[in-house]
């Protein structure tokens, strides 16, 4: 009960802080969105035109479904990049500004603090990402099938999954601050995986399949694309709810595992960082 109250209080504080900063620096927020849109368009175009066969690339860009598939992948990738970055670069930054030690002085503990911060930050990211997806998809003439219930469930599960993974790397960053730099590679890998993740990946032997399922973004990305791009139409051409899709069950299992590993490791590492005295070191 106390933890829940603390979680809500921290969320409230974070929402107010975020709102104040967005409002106070509105110009930066707005230009950020415009630049984001522009960058994404350039990335999409660059991605297609850099294909080995340029003609094929042009045809692909002209195929709105395929383009939408990649655009969505880009956005999911950005989301994953942001959530994990909040733990890695975020912790490094907070250690540098001294805020991390003040968070540790909160009676609710670091896990509750980071959970609340992540939820608020992700809601904001999802809002901006949704805007971005909408504008970019419209720009390339694509279409998204928006079914609210599966989308909300999938976004929540994807977020929990990434959160667990984020807690794991965040825990490592608490003790070994240099890990923060190395995790950029991991974040980039997840970003790429979100773009390219397809069901065909999972049919290339048990080892590849197991590895893909173990990564926190594969199933989330496949499921979200299945709902938003394919409109939950299976390969047989029949409607099949995403809740019956095998990747959905993998996603649920992955959520449980990553959350357990992430939070447990974060707590262990928090304890260890207090022993090593690395909380305020950057």
């Amino acid at each position: 009960m106390n933890t829940m109250l603390g979680f809500l209080l921290i969320m409230k504080a974070e929402i107010i802080r975020g709102w104040i900063i967005t409002r106070r620096y509105w110009f930066r927020t707005l230009t950020g969105l415009i630049i984001g849109y522009g960058m994404l368009m350039i990335l999409i175009a660059g991605f297609f035109y850099s294909q080995p066969a340029i003609e094929k690339g042009i045809n692909q860009l002209d195929d709105p479904t395929r383009a939408t598939n990649y655009i969505l992948g880009f956005i999911i990738g950005l989301f994953a990049f942001g959530v994990i970055g909040m733990f890695t670069q975020g912790i490094q930054g907070m250690a540098q500004t001294g805020v991390l030690e003040q968070l540790c002085m909160s009676p609710y503990g670091l896990v509750t603090n980071f959970l609340a911060r992540a939820v608020v930050a992700s809601v904001t990211t999802i809002f901006y990402s949704a805007l971005m997806v909408y504008f970019v998809v419209i720009s390339v003439g694509g279409k998204l099938y928006f079914d609210p219930l599966p989308v909300i469930v999938l976004l929540t599960l994807s977020f929990i999954n990434l959160l667990g993974f984020g807690f794991m790397v965040g825990g490592l960053v608490l003790v070994f601050k240099q890990v923060g730099q190395l995790t950029i590679i991991v974040r980039m890998a997840l970003f790429a995986l979100a773009i390219f993740a397809r069901e065909e990946f999972l049919q290339q032997g048990w080892l590849v399949s197991a590895l893909m399922h173990a990564l926190p973004i594969t199933d989330a990305s496949i499921c979200l694309k299945y709902v938003l791009v394919k409109g939950q139409i299976s390969e047989t051409g029949q409607f099949m709810s995403v809740f019956l899709h095998p990747c959905f069950y993998w996603l649920c299992a992955s959520c449980l595992i990553w959350t357990f590993i992430g939070i447990s490791l974060f707590k262990i590492m928090e304890n260890y960082s207090r022993y090593k005295g690395t909380l305020g070191i950057y």
């Binding site: 921290i10 504080a13 104040i20 540098q96 003040q102 002085m105 603090n113 207090r274 005295g277 909380l279």
Partner: protein, 359 residues
Amino acid sequence: MYRKEMNEDIQKYTVYLDKVSKTFHTSHFLYKDEETGKRSFIKKKEACAADKITFGIMPGEIMGLLGPNGAGKTTTVKMISGLVKPDSGTVYVDGMNVEKKRKQILSRIGVVLEGTRTSIWPLTPLENLYYYGNLRNIRGKVLKERARQLIDFIGLNDKKDVEVRKLSRGQKQKLAICIALIADPKIILLDEPTTGLDVQSSRSIKDKILELTRKHGRSVLVTTHDMHVAQELCDRIGIINKGKLITCKPTSELLELFSKQIFSLRLDRNLVDGDLDSLAPQVTLLQTDLTAEGPTITVQVPEPYRERSEALYSLLETLRKKKYQLRSIQQKQVNLEYVFLQLTGEKPVFDEMNSQEQE
């Protein structure tokens, strides 16, 4: 018996450290020794930040922790606030073990660590206090009222709606103290609160610290390497060096420690080298000066009366034999800097400006 005494101490003091030790172990990859130039793939080092430190802070007391850089002051503060775990020994706050009851203790402690960094710069001081208040479980009317009171108390009223990034270093430091006070803690830990501040800001912060203890009865631990701050502010001072607590005494008692031992003698002419070679072994010549009144020598003699008397007679006899005329002799009141250097084993420079003379 020891257990019983210790329990009494734990109850008596707001903060009590019982034989607390901490050593940091670090590993350096591709290490190059600066002196020898020798390279090694991995070099393990250890630094002792606390070596069986034992002291307590009474309610309403300002305790100072004085020591050079890297002495272990900040680690001690962090161990009290639970940010660093001791290797051995126990820290008690309000009679509770910090490691076992950390959550309960956190609401009783306010910490300022490198204060200017603590606040969130895009927010105003008032918004910062609301933010940190929520983090410390203070909310609603209580939070608003307390935030305004603190801003008023610390003297940031005219800056309460200005973004922190636009504030001066002193104002940021004041805000950091307000943040530490937002949960109304009984214990305030201030790590170098006046470092880098101008005289006015430093004065203002010292006044507020005094007010916090004298009027509001809070216990304060101040770490500093500024002797003036410690001497002016602290009821009791602990001197720490290389993780060891060398002494922990009331400030007045600490200043008395060497005052009976330092004498200044004004002569009619400059001391010639070798003239004092035959001095009694217990007399140490600390310094020779040429002041406006004439040449002066400063000596240290042993503390016990009998030995001190003997040493002074021997010194006067030597001077008489060498035909020096003695113009005056004064016992000197030492300052904290002198005491500190003596206790940490550094060679003190007896500065006329920093000492007060006694008859």
